[in-house]
Symmetry: C2
Subunit: 310 residues, 2 copies
Amino acid sequence: MTALSAASAAPASPDYDTLSVDLAGRAYDIQIGEGLLARAGALSRAVLRQPRVVIVTDSHVAPLHLKTVEDSYRAAGIDAASVIVPAGEGSKRFDRLQALLDDLLDARIERRTTLVALGGGVIGDLTGFAAAIALRGLNFIQVPTTLLAQVDSSVGGKTGINTEQGKNLVGAFHQPRLVLCDTATLATLPPRELRAGYAEVVKYGLIDDPEFFAWCEANGSALLAGDAELQAEAVRRACLAKARVVEGDEREEKAEGGRALLNLGHTFAHALEAEAGYDGRTLLHGEAVGIDSKLRGHRGHRRANDAGKV
Amino acid sequence: MTALSAASAAPASPDYDTLSVDLAGRAYDIQIGEGLLARAGALSRAVLRQPRVVIVTDSHVAPLHLKTVEDSYRAAGIDAASVIVPAGEGSKRFDRLQALLDDLLDARIERRTTLVALGGGVIGDLTGFAAAIALRGLNFIQVPTTLLAQVDSSVGGKTGINTEQGKNLVGAFHQPRLVLCDTATLATLPPRELRAGYAEVVKYGLIDDPEFFAWCEANGSALLAGDAELQAEAVRRACLAKARVVEGDEREEKAEGGRALLNLGHTFAHALEAEAGYDGRTLLHGEAVGIDSKLRGHRGHRRANDAGKV
């Protein structure tokens, strides 16, 4: 079962929440709070198999957050190397995957080395997939820095890359060992990125939680305007919902009522993104999901009439 | 537990043996006998998730065996497409993996489609890895056609490709759903390929089975000269030994006494192959393993004095 509880390890009252994703043999925690990037080293230590990580991030996120995370690992006595890949959906390509694996192997990763995915959904998907196949499988930690990644892609172990035939057609189910959501990073997001992530938040309300949908209706504007408390609450609620769905159907094998429900809004979204070239210049993933939801009007869904507000 | 028993499904006395690899949630059978290629369709049916397979083979094996296998699937009412890749270790490269995945996606594989790896170790490693990551994981069947693949690489789920940094550094643990060893295919092998596979057979005797090592000493020459009965017995004994080791340490996580034992002879072998260019023109994998075993003399092993005979 998933439990939302205050963490009790620290002697002082902790200022973050811990959620657990309960998968047999692959259980892990999601920690949510402000300022977690600077504590990544101490918070990661329990899941590392050797005092060594390689941080993978992108050219947008590196100048904002990489030094904070590197310093945090080093302060905790953990060796931290880093690899910076170009920002954008274009990095979820075969040639970029190969380049990343080359960089990791050149850095002499070992089977006990842990990768740290620092960035948005592209970095999480790419790094998680590299972790799944480098040396036939390394542990990895998700440190999502966008709302979309914090509420959706960092939890659940879906990793992968795009091909000419479509999105995420090559990849692996590979669960992270830990997810660290530093909600302070959301303050650095452009409004458009925040809206794209918020569409996924509302999705959880649409799928199975009328009360949370009502919460979104009441608080969405303030959240998008930058209210940090509301943003953190949205991340907690969304992660809790996502964790429950993943626990019930880790590999999306149920025909009904399982993980496929989370694909709400994704049927046409992937096609729209393919047309737009995946580069985020014309259409962000969350925007495509929002457009899809509007186009389809959630027919057959009990909250169909609210769909236009997504 | 692994059990070697006569299969009992067929009404007539079956002319093949069935071994089981007992892994929780991923158990599978190894079927060993003459003429199994022509019965692949009927023997596979129970593990298919839809009546559809894509056979992956190489340019050496295709003219020898592909039609037999395709016909067998079609006769069983199973749709069978095929992809032919260039023969040789050079196909365990990133660009060839990408080309194979493109071919599979263009063939409109679905998550319930099963891949069939028809060929030697290169085809098994490449196809198994493609199965591990296409659509985040497909089932696959190993149909090994070399002695090396029948006694070693087709069992245990190690899949992968080579990189500039070394052999098998990118890959996945992905167990097949079935292994079909048609021992009649061994008659088509060049003597050098047979010897390369036989080095791996003897390895099982060296590791933990003095009685089997004595059997090899008594029968090795006749086996290499083409005795089909002895070849089939060697495949059975080797698969049984491999299955036991894999059951005890599926992901090679034990520091001692587990799957890493099977790397006997591989420490320098990979380096020798890297120097020779992996293309099999100058050095086959089994030959490299044999050279390694001689160089190292199996120090510390209780049958160290016999090592020179490998």
